[in-house]
Symmetry: C2
Subunit: 277 residues, 2 copies
């Protein structure tokens, strides 16, 4: 839903149960997404997650995770998706992520999400995925856990040595760090007075990030920096309302205004110093 | 020690006990600081603090705080300091901070530090200081506690309504936020692989921030943004070695290189979008 503001077509690959509300399917259709990759398994239940956010919304406790239909998801990538330039692997069992990569035809950019559950329970599978992706997007706690290293700069080096040339570490209200091509980029978070619901901010980030890259089909450090800002902008919209509500009908001017706000937020009015050799 | 790289003279006002090592006094002298405001009380003990840092160095527990001579510090501002343009009030009993302000002659910029101890134990005194200062520098936990508000944007509004027109919220490895003149500026932290000792990073920040402003004697939003970057640079040097070691003999080129590194770190290669009205 975030990506389609920046690049089309966007194809979804997923499995849901017979309980998946018809209204949700209509919502996805209204966003002009390609839904031929969504498998509906009647008589089974959709994945669900519940959590509780802490005082400052930076931390949350998981109350339940029901894998349901995801537990034995056997993805089939539709023919129309197989030549996609940009492939996003959502937070899933690493073996399933690999099965998806087996079915695509040399994408230019594979971007991958994961979480503590896979880091702890399927480390070997996760390593096999990491070897095959271009970019990993995780939060700071996940980066520390995956690398076993509290310092994020060292953690980034360890994780990138496992495969992904590009690493994005999301830090919620503290913004995001990008490690790529010998550079570090620190992106601010948009300062919001009212955060209705942080759920899905990370997914919207990935959507904005991937959507921007897909629209340019260029992956150098400047494009990656811009992609992080587009991802951050999409995340900042998402948290303004409950669920994906805010992503249903964003106007182009709203997106450009938000990007401008990021430029002001991060603006350092200093010209680089010339230092005599 | 951080401020003197950017502006001189820098005068210290403090009280120490007879136990204050002679070598420390020599170290301060070697930094070309004006020490006539340091009172030595023989037979009494210097303030001391001990703490323990957590896994990721973002949090620490205080093991002990011995106020010692600070408990009944009666500051006398030397004649030579009274016309200072920039006055920094270190983390102290708010009543003592007020006594210092009573003795200075209309400075252009009063910058103040505080901590949870004063927020909890002397809230009325703290409110009296806040009404008299231009700029408060606190960390994110202190901003939340002082305002009673978890959202930092709202917290900033509440704190600024108490007096300080300018507010800086330090966030350790996540950088700093500046609120002033209707703007928000988000400064990154310099990504270091090795942090030897985070103690004093906040003080070095204040030194760099105040030193930059004193050198320019201008306090508009662009100067404040630059001051935050100079403060952040000084903080980043401080944590590279134990104690104030790194601040003893910094070279000008090292400082300029570090400022350049901040520019690269925060660089967003997007020109502001023109949005049709």
């Amino acid at each position: 839903m975030a990506a389609r503001y920046l690049s089309r077509p966007v194809g979804l690959l997923a499995v849901v149960g017979g309980d998946f509300p018809e209204s949700y399917m209509r919502m996805l259709e209204a966003c002009d997404l390609d839904l031929q990759g969504i498998e509906v398994r009647e008589g089974e239940k959709t994945f669900s997650w519940g959590g509780k956010y802490h005082y400052d919304l930076n931390d949350r406790d998981t109350l339940f995770t029901h894998l349901n239909v995801l537990a034995n998801f056997e993805p089939t990538v539709p023919e129309a998706y197989r030549k996609s330039k940009v492939v996003c692997l959502g937070n899933l069992d690493p073996d399933i992520q690999c099965e998806i990569l087996d079915q695509v035809d040399g994408p230019d950019m594979v971007i991958c999400d994961t979480m503590n559950y896979w880091i702890e329970n399927t480390p070997e599978g996760l390593c096999r995925v990491l070897e095959r992706i271009d970019c990993l997007i995780v939060n700071d706690a996940e980066a520390r856990e995956l690398s076993g290293e509290p310092n994020l700069v060292k953690a980034a080096r360890i994780i990138r040595a496992l495969g992904p040339e590009i690493l994005v570490i999301k830090k919620g209200e503290h913004g995001a760090l990008l490690f790529a091509d010998g550079a570090v980029f620190s992106a601010p978070a948009y300062p919001l007075e009212e955060i209705q619901d942080p759920t899905g901010a990370g997914d919207a980030f990935m959507g904005g990030f991937a959507g921007y890259l897909a629209s340019k089909n260029c992956y150098d450090i400047d494009h990656l920096r811009r992609a992080v800002i587009y991802g951050s902008a999409m995340a900042s919209f998402t948290v303004e309302e409950f669920g994906p509500q805010r992503l249903l009908a964003l106007k182009e001017t709203e997106i450009l205004q938000r990007i401008n706000a990021f430029l002001t937020l991060a603006h350092i009015p200093i010209s680089p110093y010339f230092i005599e050799p």
